[in-house]
């Protein structure tokens, strides 16, 4: 059974007279342990899709199931509860709290679990060491580089072992070295922990780290590519080809 399943997702903004349809019926299945990228030009609806999948935004119609539970039917409170326990997030702008140290930021999702403190400490050490930020644990975010901040944010997403991790342009604000560092760590964690990752990106290099790339155009799924046993380089070239077909006028940046 897929861990994330979306059926006929629609999302529109605005009112009756001035309606902007962003998602036009998307069907999507993601299996346990997959690392999926969603690509598309600006305005194609990829971030909206991620927000709807991750319950930050509400769909206009259609359904989203995660681990067999239907998010689209849940009440505000249940959704928040679900998000806390089963989902992890990585954002482009890091979304770290400035007033907390690295360690406190990372441990935040565990604060609502009944996990004993020494076990939480154990989890923290493992994930922080895997991401290479254990030494930075007592620093504040404003003392860190962008790459370090994003790895902190990733550690926060992984620590409570969520069913799915949603990443919104995680490399968007990073230089290429930090970006590939982060992506290496993400795919490593994906393999080691069998963690499911859904990542929105417009960066082809970033997408080439994943197992599957879904292309979105004008609110609909355009096509998707599976990496299979290809090398990352070969996958990258495949992505580039699709992108250039897809691109045309909408070529961005």
């Amino acid at each position: 059974m897929p861990i994330v399943e979306a059926r006929k997702l629609h999302k529109s903004y605005g009112n009756k007279w001035n309606k902007q349809e962003v998602l036009k019926g998307i069907d999507l299945q993601i299996e346990q342990g997959e690392f999926v990228s969603i690509m598309g030009a600006s305005g194609s609806g990829k971030t909206t899709l991620l927000n709807v999948l991750s319950s930050i935004d509400k769909a206009s119609s259609g359904s989203v199931h995660i681990e067999g539970q239907e998010l689209t039917r849940m009440k505000e409170k249940q959704i928040a509860e679900f998000r806390k326990h089963h989902l992890g997030f990585i954002f482009q702008e890091y979304h770290l709290l400035d007033t907390l140290t690295v360690k406190e930021n990372i441990l935040l999702p565990l604060s609502i679990t009944s996990l004993p403190q020494n076990e939480a400490e154990q989890w923290f050490q493992t994930v922080a060491k895997e991401l290479g930020i254990y030494e930075l644990r007592d620093k504040y975010p404003n003392e860190l580089s962008g790459g370090q901040k994003q790895r902190t944010s990733a550690a926060r997403a992984f620590i409570h072992q969520p069913s799915v991790i949603f990443a919104d342009e995680p490399t968007g604000a990073l230089d290429s070295k930090s970006a590939s560092d982060l992506l290496n760590k993400l795919s490593e964690l994906n393999r080691k922990r069998q963690a499911t990752i859904v990542m929105v990106t417009h960066d082809m290099t970033a997408a080439s780290f994943s197992n599957r790339v879904i292309f979105i155009r004008d609110g609909q799924m355009y096509t998707q590519l599976h990496r299979g046993d290809d090398t990352r380089q070969a996958f990258y070239e495949a992505i580039m080809q699709t992108q250039s077909v897809l691109g045309g006028v909408q070529h961005e940046h």
Binding site: R83, F91, E104, L107, L108, I112
Partner: protein, 647 residues
């Protein structure tokens, strides 16, 4: 859109956001106008004339202007900073600085003078209520009339117009200094940088608490005999003031952060959501407001302290009067006493008369003193009044015994006595040694004889006669007899008091009516309470508003973290939990520190003012706490809006 439309729209949004500012402004104007109306009202002469109340009320209105003026300037500064982005935008689209200034000026003109008119009207309508409160407190039997005083209105408009001009001047200076770029960035530059604690901060933290505690300790020792002489006492008071004020400043600057840091360390990184929302922002923000918080705490402590003391004094007026006037009516001239009793008899009022002959003798009390020498008192030769036990029903002494009668808390503070020992009465020829066997609380004679509260020595009748032969005539008072007249039926007391007023008294201080003494103290203290109370109220409202505005800014800056937390799956209720805790500290810490300061201030010297400490002090503190909490609650409501809007 024309500039006029722009102004109008801005005004409407501002009114919605800053209702509290408008409220505070209206309130201050109303208070000031009511005060000034009082000052010009002819029916106030009854209060003013008798106790120089006019000077009090005038000083109060000047202080009121100072409080309100500072508040308005401060609030204005917060507002102009908050609008810096908008102002930058105006300049960006090509408006000159003077056009922007005109927009801002016109807007605040409308807001300000609109509130001014409403405030004056409100002030006029409540001035009668205020006057009634004043009459009630001072016990002046007068009907509060009300007339609109043009003079008061003019003065109010004039004073507030001046404040407005100063406000505009500061706005102009602010605008002139700013570049477009800087205006866009003001909000972020005011933030205090997040960083680790330095050793210096730990030191300030520890020093802050130490200073405050040291101040408290000295204040509790102030009248215990540790400081002898006026000069030492005065120096000690200055020291307390300095320690407590500097300590408060350091407390906000370092101690709060230091203590929270200790707690945070102990959590070893495992913070829960409440900690995250409340702790971390408190740790970084209280520092930057240290000066403001110190001023607010100190002035509110002052207000609570003064109000408590005047209420204590007011509350204990009757007891104090009983200490100083030993009977319902006391005389020291037989002629006057007789005139009075005859008047009583013709009116058919029953009374009881006590007569004591009072000698004044130098006494050596060194042996029964607990504390060593104190103030200007020489324990080996203190002049004290002496009476015989003959006139006291409940006292029977043998020839070599003596007791002290008349003992209040004030005296106890300055001179604490052992329960027994030897005292020596020093006469012209010989010195008489008597066995001191105890203390009796009531004052048998009035303050004309007791020098305002010294105990009276009671001796056996023979001993008294013996003493009388040997007294130093230089020490004796002009009148040597005390006549105390108690009215048997207390319902006739008022009538008797009216009769007393008709008795011709030669020297005013030699005879007294207890009722009059108590009423005059109530009148004095009532006026003080009234003035301090209203100033305190004005200060409370304005400082509460300032704290609230600060919280509004803080909320806007923290909205970002709330967005993050809500994205991570914390509900707005989870967040509100932490925010309530945070506001409990934000408003609670200055409140508790202020209350503690005033408690120790009152504690150190309340006995100089009256006989009852707890009831009046707790009443004042309770009212203050309740009013102050309103602002905390309002800020929580504001935060709820912010949190709701954050996702």
């Amino acid at each position: 859109m024309s500039i006029n439309q722009l102004i109008w729209r801005n005004l409407r949004t501002n009114l919605k956001n800053d209702y509290l500012y408008v409220f505070a402004l209206i309130f201050s104007v109303a208070l000031y106008f009511a005060f000034v109306t009082l000052q010009y009202d002819p029916s106030m002469d009854a209060v003013e004339g008798s106790i120089k109340g006019e000077a009090g009320i005038r000083t109060a209105s000047v202080l009121l202007v100072a409080i309100v003026g500072i508040f308005l300037l401060y609030a204005n500064k917060i507002f102009i900073k908050r609008r810096s982005k908008e102002i930058g935008l105006f300049q960006f689209i090509g408006m000159t600085k003077s056009t922007v200034f005109r927009i801002v000026g016109t807007e605040s003109f409308l807001l300000y003078f609109g509130s001014l008119l409403i405030g004056s009207f409100l002030g006029f309508s409540v001035s009668r209520l205020i006057m009634m409160i004043l009459f009630n407190l001072t016990g002046v039997a007068n009907i509060a009339t009300l007339q609109f005083s043009l003079l008061a209105f003019q003065q109010t408009i004039l004073v507030f117009a001046v404040i407005y001009l100063v406000m505009m001047l500061s706005n102009w200076l602010y605008l002139k200094k700013q570049t477009i770029l800087a205006l866009f960035h003001t909000v972020s530059s005011t933030e205090d940088k997040v960083r680790k604690m330095s050793a210096l901060e730990v030191l300030t933290g520890v020093l802050g608490v130490t200073f405050i505690l040291a101040g408290y300790y000295i204040s509790s020792q102030l009248f215990s005999g540790a400081f002898t002489g006026m000069k030492e006492l005065f120096l000690a008071m200055l020291l307390i003031l300095a320690l407590v004020i500097i300590g408060t400043y350091l407390f906000y600057k370092g101690s709060v952060r230091f203590l929270l840091n200790l707690y945070r360390r102990s959590r070893k990184g495992h913070l829960n959501l409440n900690d995250v929302v409340s702790l971390s922002s408190l740790m970084f923000r209280m520092r930057s407001n240290a000066m403001l918080l110190t001023i607010i705490t100190t002035v509110s402590a002052l207000a609570i302290g003064l109000l408590s003391l005047s209420y204590i004094s007011y509350y204990s007026a009757e007891q104090t009067a009983a200490d100083y006037v030993a009977a319902d009516f006391s005389f020291s001239s037989e002629e006057e006493a007789t005139t009075f009793t005859e008047l009583l008899r013709t009116d058919g009022i029953d009374y009881e008369e006590h007569v004591h002959e009072v000698l004044h003798v130098d006494v050596n009390i060194e042996d029964i003193m607990n504390t060593s020498a104190n103030f200007n008192l020489d324990p080996s030769r203190t002049m004290l009044p002496v009476i015989s036990d003959h006139g006291l029903d409940d006292v029977r002494l043998s020839a070599n015994e003596a007791i002290f009668s008349g003992y209040n808390d004030l005296f106890q503070k300055f001179l604490s006595l052992r329960s027994s020992g030897t005292i020596e009465l020093i006469g012209m020829e010989q010195t008489l040694s008597l066995q001191y066997i105890g203390m009796r609380e009531e004052f048998p004679v009035s303050d004309y004889f007791t020098n305002g509260g010294m105990p009276v020595i009671v001796v056996n009748e023979q001993t008294f006669a013996q003493l009388k032969e040997d007294t130093d005539p230089e020490l004796q008072y002009r009148n040597s007899h005390y006549f105390g007249i108690d009215i048997t039926d207390s319902s006739e007391l008022q009538q008797a008091n009216t009769l007393y007023a008709t008795v011709p008294i030669e020297l005013e201080w030699t005879s007294k009516s207890r009722l009059d003494t108590s009423a005059s103290q109530k009148m004095n203290m009532g006026l003080v309470m009234f003035i301090v109370g209203f100033l305190g109220l004005a200060f409370l409202i304005t400082s509460g508003c300032i704290l609230y505005f600060k919280q509004m800014d803080e909320g806007a800056e923290e909205q970002w973290s709330y967005t993050i937390l809500r994205k991570l799956g914390f509900t707005s209720n989870d967040l509100m939990h932490g925010i309530r805790l945070k506001q409990l500290f934000n408003f609670g810490i200055p409140l508790v520190v202020g209350l503690l300061h005033s408690y120790f201030a009152v504690q150190s010297g309340w006995f100089l003012f009256g006989t009852e400490l707890w009831t009046p002090m707790l009443a004042v503190m309770g009212i203050y706490t309740v009013l102050y909490s309103v602002f905390g609650l309002l800020s929580v409501l504001h935060y709820r809006k912010i949190v709701k809007a954050s996702l």
